[in-house]
C-alpha cells in the first residue's frame, strides 16, 4: 500500500492492521513520532492525516492508504526551522522534548486553520497532548507568538 509521508510517496509492505505508529517508527525509521501511552491519551504520537491531528497509535496503517501523512520530520523545510519550531525553542516550550513533536503538529494544524487563535483556542487545540515539564504556559505562549 502507498501513502504520502512528508510530501513523498512511500510504499509499505505491512499488514493493514499494523499501527501507523509502528510503521512510521520501525518500518520507515521516522522516530520523531513518540509512543507515550499506546491508547490515545497522551498525544505524543500525534501526526497529521490529511491535515487533521490524529493519534497514530490508534490508526491502522490500512486506514491511511492514499492519505497525506505529516510527522515532525516533515515540518522543517530543508533544515530551515519553521517559525513555530523557532518559537518553541525561544519560548522554552520544549523541555524534555518527548511531547514536542506531537505538540508542534497539533499547534501547526491549529495555525493552518486559524491564523489568529486566542489563548482559549490554543488550549482547546492542544488539549489532547500531555506535557509534564512545562505547565503548558510556555507552549501556549510559543503558539500565540506565531499568530500572523
Amino acid at each position: 500500500m502507498r501513502f504520502v509521508l512528508n510530501g513523498r510517496s512511500v510504499a509499505v509492505d505491512a499488514p493493514g492492521s499494523r499501527r501507523l505508529l509502528d510503521v512510521l517508527r520501525e518500518d520507515l525509521g521516522f522516530t520523531g513520532t513518540k509512543e507515550g501511552c499506546g491508547e490515545g491519551e497522551c498525544g505524543a504520537c500525534s501526526v497529521l492525516i490529511d491535515g487533521a491531528v490524529v493519534d497514530s497509535c490508534l490508526v491502522a496503517v490500512g486506514q491511511v492508504e492514499g492519505c497525506n501523512v505529516v510527522t515532525v520530520e516533515g515540518l522543517a523545510d530543508g533544515g530551515q526551522l519553521t517559525a513555530l519550531q523557532q518559537a518553541f525553542i525561544e519560548h522554552g516550550a520544549a523541555q524534555c522534548g518527548i511531547c514536542t513533536p506531537g505538540m508542534l503538529l497539533a499547534a501547526h494544524a491549529l495555525l493552518q486553520q486559524n491564523s489568529q487563535p486566542s489563548d482559549g483556542d490554543v488550549r482547546i487545540a492542544l488539549a489532547g497532548n500531555l506535557c509534564r515539564c512545562t505547565g503548558y504556559t510556555k507552549i501556549i505562549d510559543a503558539v500565540l507568538a506565531c499568530r500572523t
Binding site: T31, G32, K34, E73, G92, Q95, C96, G97, C133, T134
Partner: protein, 719 residues
C-alpha cells in the same frame, strides 16, 4: 539570540542547546535507537501482594528454545538492586519472599513481540499467599526513624495559651514522565588482556548514570571497566528515573548476557504506572502552641510515610520531609518525630520535592488553622512567624544569607491580580464559588547535611584545542536545561562565547561521577564545580597549551556543620524560597475544583537562564496542582486500579491555569553567579495554597490531597 564574547551568557535566555534536535524529531530517546539484531525483553511479575514464591513452571507445550528465560538463578552477582539497603532483589527466587504485586520474578526475551507475548502466556507462577499489609496504620516494619529536637516542646505546649492539633494525609502520585522507562543492553566479549571476560553496555532513559553503573556491577558481579552506562535523550524524570532505572538496566543486562545479543526492555505505560515508584503517601500530625498574641512557641510534629515493599530511597525522603516539617518559620521549641514504614504496595521512591511537599503541605495548612482559631489573618501570622536573617531552623541552623521569605511574600502579593468575589456567575454555573489561598515555603538546595561531602561530586572542563572547550559531567539533561546552563556557566568563567563550549556525553566511560541529578543540586553544586574548573582552566591557559583538562571534586565549605547522629546543624548549604497564590473555582454541586490562577514568586538566587528557570517553576507548579486536585491512585489488593493514562489523569491545557512566575534574585555566595537550586521547590507550595483557597471559597477544610470532588462534597456537607 546571537552570542558574542562581549555579552555574558549567564542571565540570558540563550537557545536550549539540544533545542533544534527536539523540535525536529532528531533527538534520539532510548526507544528511537535502531539496534540490528536486538531482541525484545519482558518482565514477568508476581500476581499476589505478599507470600512465598513456590514454583515457576514453564509450560512444556511451548517451545522454550525459541526464547531466552532468565530467573534469579541466572544472576551472576548479588541478587539485589543496589541502593541504600540490600533488601530489594533483582528477581524473586523460588522459595523467596514476594513483597508486592509487581515483584519481578522472571525475564523473557524473544526476537519479536508476538512470540514474547506467547511465551509470557506459558509461564505459571505458584505461591503460598499471605495476608498483605496495605495501610500504613497496620504496618509493623519500620525502615527508618528520625527525631529532631529543638528547645523543650513539652513545656512550651503546657504553657501555651492555645494549642491546635490537626492531622493531614497526602496521597500517592506518579511522576508521569511522558517517556516510559526503558533500557537497551549490549553484551560484549572482551579482547586483549582479560579476554573472555564479558561486560555490558546499557543505554537508557535515566537521571543518574552512576547509580545504574553501581547497580549493574553489583548484580552482574563485574568490575568498573566492564560496565558502561550511557544516558539516551530522556523524556522527563521528576525523580522517577533516579533509582528505578537500575531495575530496568539489570533486567535488560541479564537478558542480553544470556541471549548473547542486545535486548531492548521498554516499558509500556501500563507497566510503568503499575510497577514503578510513586511519591510516598503519608500521615502528618501537628500540635502547635501559640501565645495569645499569636507568637509561635511550640511545634510538635509526627510524620509517618509509607515506603512500600522495599526501602529504596525512603530514609532520605523521610529526612527531607522531617527537616522541612516545621515550614519556613522560626520556632524556639520544636520536636519532629518521623517514621517510614513498610507495606506490601509497590515500592515508593524519589519524586520531585522528595518528602518536603508532604510535610510542607501540613505545615502550611497548620498556619491557616492556628490563624482561624486565633481569629487573625493567616497572612499576618506568616509575617510574624517567618524565618528571617539570623533566625534558626528546626535543626538549629542559623540562616546567615539569602533568606527570602519576606521578599517572595511581598513579590507574590504585588503580582497577584486584585481578587474579586463573588465573580459574575454564568447561568449554567449557578453554584460556583471562588476562593484564594496562599502558601510560603522553603526548600533546601543540594544533598542533606553531609550528603554532598560524602558524595564528593566530580566534574572536568577541558580545552581540547585552541578555543574549543568541553564539559565532562555525569549530570544529566532531563528537560530542566542542564546542558544549556552548564555551557553558560563555563562560557562566562572561561570568557568565551557559548558556542565554543560543548558538553560531553553522559557516558560512564567518558565522564566523572558528578553525583546524581537530583535534590536541586545540579545548577548550584555541580554548576559551582564547573565554574571553579573553568576558572582554573582559563588561568592555566595563560601559561599552558591545550589539550588541557582541569578536574574538580566537591569540598564542603568549613562553614557547614552537620551532625548525622543528632540531626543538628546546617541541614542544607542554603534554601530557596517561594510564595504561591492560587485562585480556585469550586462547583458546589459536583465538588469539582478548578484552579484558575497561580502566581508564584521564587527566590532562585540568580536565574542562570530566566526562561528555563520559569519553565521549571511552571512545570513543577502544575505537577503540584495535579497532586492537589486530580491525581489520585486507587488501590485494590495492593494493586493500583487506575494504572492507565485513561484513568490516572494529569492536568491538560484545559485544566491548567496560566501560571505566572516572579523570579526574585537574592544571591547565594556559594552558588555559581549566586544561583540556588529550584528544581523541586515549585512542588511544595501549590497544594496547601489550593486547599486554603477551597476553604476560602466554601468554608470547608479539607485535610488531605488530592481534594477530589468526593472529598470536597463531603467536606462541604460537614462544614
Amino acid at each position: 539570540m546571537t552570542d558574542s564574547a562581549a555579552s555574558p551568557a549567564v542571565g540570558r535566555s540563550v537557545p536550549r542547546r539540544e533545542g533544534a534536535d527536539k523540535v525536529t524529531g532528531r533527538a534520539h530517546y532510548t526507544d528511537d535507537l535502531v539496534v540490528p539484531g536486538a531482541w525484545y525483553g519482558k518482565t514477568i511479575r508476581s500476581t499476589v501482594a505478599r507470600g512465598t514464591l513456590r514454583a515457576i513452571t514453564l509450560d512444556p507445550a511451548f517451545d522454550w528454545s525459541r526464547v531466552v528465560v532468565v530467573t534469579a538463578d541466572d544472576i551472576p552477582g548479588d541478587n539485589v538492586v543496589q541502593l541504600i539497603r540490600d533488601d530489594q532483589p533483582a528477581l524473586a527466587r523460588v522459595g523467596g519472599e514476594i513483597r508486592h504485586q509487581e515483584e519481578p520474578v522472571l525475564l523473557l526475551a524473544a526476537p519479536d513481540k508476538g512470540l514474547l507475548e506467547e511465551a509470557a502466556r506459558h509461564v505459571r507462577l505458584a505461591y503460598e499467599a499471605r495476608e498483605p499489609v496495605l495501610e500504613l496504620e497496620r504496618a509493623t516494619e519500620t525502615y527508618h526513624t528520625i527525631e529532631i529536637v529543638k528547645g523543650d516542646v513539652a513545656t512550651a505546649l503546657r504553657v501555651a495559651d492555645l494549642v491546635v492539633e490537626r492531622t493531614f494525609r497526602v496521597g500517592l502520585q506518579e511522576q508521569l514522565y511522558i517517556e516510559p522507562q526503558g533500557a537497551i543492553a549490549f553484551p560484549y566479549r572482551g579482547s586483549g588482556p582479560g579476554a573472555g571476560a564479558s561486560g555490558v553496555t546499557v543505554i537508557g532513559s535515566l537521571q543518574c548514570p552512576y547509580y545504574v553503573h553501581r547497580a549493574l556491577k553489583r548484580a552482574l558481579g563485574l568490575p568498573d571497566e566492564q560496565v558502561v552506562v550511557i544516558q539516551a535523550e530522556t523524556g522527563g524524570g521528576f525523580g522517577g528515573k533516579e533509582e528505578y532505572p537500575s531495575v530496568v538496566a539489570i533486567h535488560a543486562a541479564l537478558l542480553a548476557r544470556k541471549a548473547g545479543r542486545p535486548v531492548r526492555l521498554i516499558y509500556d505505560r501500563h507497566e510503568d504506572l503499575a510497577a514503578t515508584t510513586k511519591r510516598h503517601p503519608g500521615v502528618i500530625t501537628h500540635r502547635t502552641g501559640v501565645g495569645r498574641d499569636g507568637t509561635l512557641t511550640a511545634q510538635d510534629i509526627e510524620i509517618v510515610l509509607d515506603g512500600g515493599a522495599y526501602c529504596t530511597l525512603t530514609p532520605v525522603v523521610l529526612s527531607r520531609a522531617a527537616i522541612h516539617a516545621a515550614g519556613a518559620y522560626a520556632c524556639p521549641n520544636v520536636r519532629i518525630r518521623a517514621r517510614a514504614v513498610a507495606t506490601n504496595t509497590p515500592p515508593n521512591g524519589a519524586f520531585r520535592g522528595f518528602g518536603a511537599p508532604q510535610s510542607l503541605f501540613a505545615a502550611e495548612l497548620m498556619v491557616e488553622h492556628v490563624a482561624e482559631r486565633l481569629g487573625v489573618a493567616s497572612l499576618d501570622l506568616r509575617r510574624k512567624w517567618m524565618l528571617r536573617l539570623g533566625d534558626s531552623t528546626a535543626t538549629g541552623q542559623v540562616l546567615t544569607e539569602s533568606v527570602s521569605a519576606e521578599l517572595v511574600l511581598d513579590a507574590a502579593l504585588k503580582a497577584a491580580p486584585t481578587f474579586q468575589r463573588p465573580r459574575p456567575l454564568g447561568s449554567n454555573l449557578p453554584r460556583v464559588r471562588r476562593g484564594r489561598g496562599l502558601s510560603l515555603v522553603f526548600h533546601g538546595s543540594g544533598f542533606t547535611g553531609s550528603g554532598e561531602k560524602k558524595l564528593a561530586g566530580k566534574v572536568a572542563v577541558e580545552c581540547t584545542a585552541p578555543g574549543e572547550f568541553r564539559i565532562l559531567t555525569a549530570s544529566t539533561e532531563i528537560g530542566q536545561g542542564t546542558k544549556t546552563i552548564f555551557s553558560q556557566i563555563a562560557a562566562d568563567a572561561l570568557g568565551v562565547p557559548i558556542d565554543r563550549v560543548t558538553v560531553g556525553a553522559q557516558d560512564t566511560s567518558l565522564v566523572p561521577d558528578s553525583g546524581p541529578t537530583v535534590a536541586s543540586r545540579t545548577a548550584m553544586i555541580v554548576g559551582g564545580l564547573i565554574r571553579d574548573a573553568a576558572t582554573e582552566l582559563q588561568k592555566r591557559l595563560t601559561q599552558e597549551r591545550p589539550p588541557l583538562r582541569v578536574d574538580r571534586t566537591y569540598v564542603q565549605p568549613d562553614t557547614v556543620h552537620w551532625d548525622d547522629a543528632t540531626y543538628r546543624g546546617d541541614a542544607y548549604p542554603v534554601y530557596a524560597w517561594a510564595c504561591t497564590i492560587a485562585d480556585v473555582d469550586v462547583a458546589l454541586d459536583t465538588g469539582e475544583v478548578r484552579v484558575t490562577d497561580v502566581v508564584t514568586a521564587v527566590d532562585c538566587g540568580k536565574a542562570i537562564h530566566p526562561v528555563m528557570a520559569e519553565g521549571q517553576i511552571e512545570g513543577g507548579s502544575l505537577q503540584a496542582v495535579g497532586w492537589a486536585t486530580i491525581e489520585e491512585i486507587k488501590m485494590r489488593d495492593g494493586r493500583y486500579l487506575n494504572d492507565r493514562l485513561a484513568t490516572y489523569l494529569i492536568p491538560t491545557t484545559l485544566d491548567a491555569p496560566r501560571i505566572r512566575t516572579i523570579l526574585v534574585e537574592n544571591p547565594y555566595s556559594g552558588g555559581p553567579f549566586g544561583a540556588k537550586g529550584i528544581g523541586e521547590l515549585p512542588m511544595d507550595g501549590p497544594a496547601p495554597a489550593i486547599i486554603a483557597a477551597i476553604h476560602d471559597a466554601t468554608g470547608a477544610w479539607i485535610d488531605e490531597v488530592p481534594a477530589t470532588p468526593e472529598k470536597v462534597l463531603a467536606a462541604c456537607a460537614s462544614s
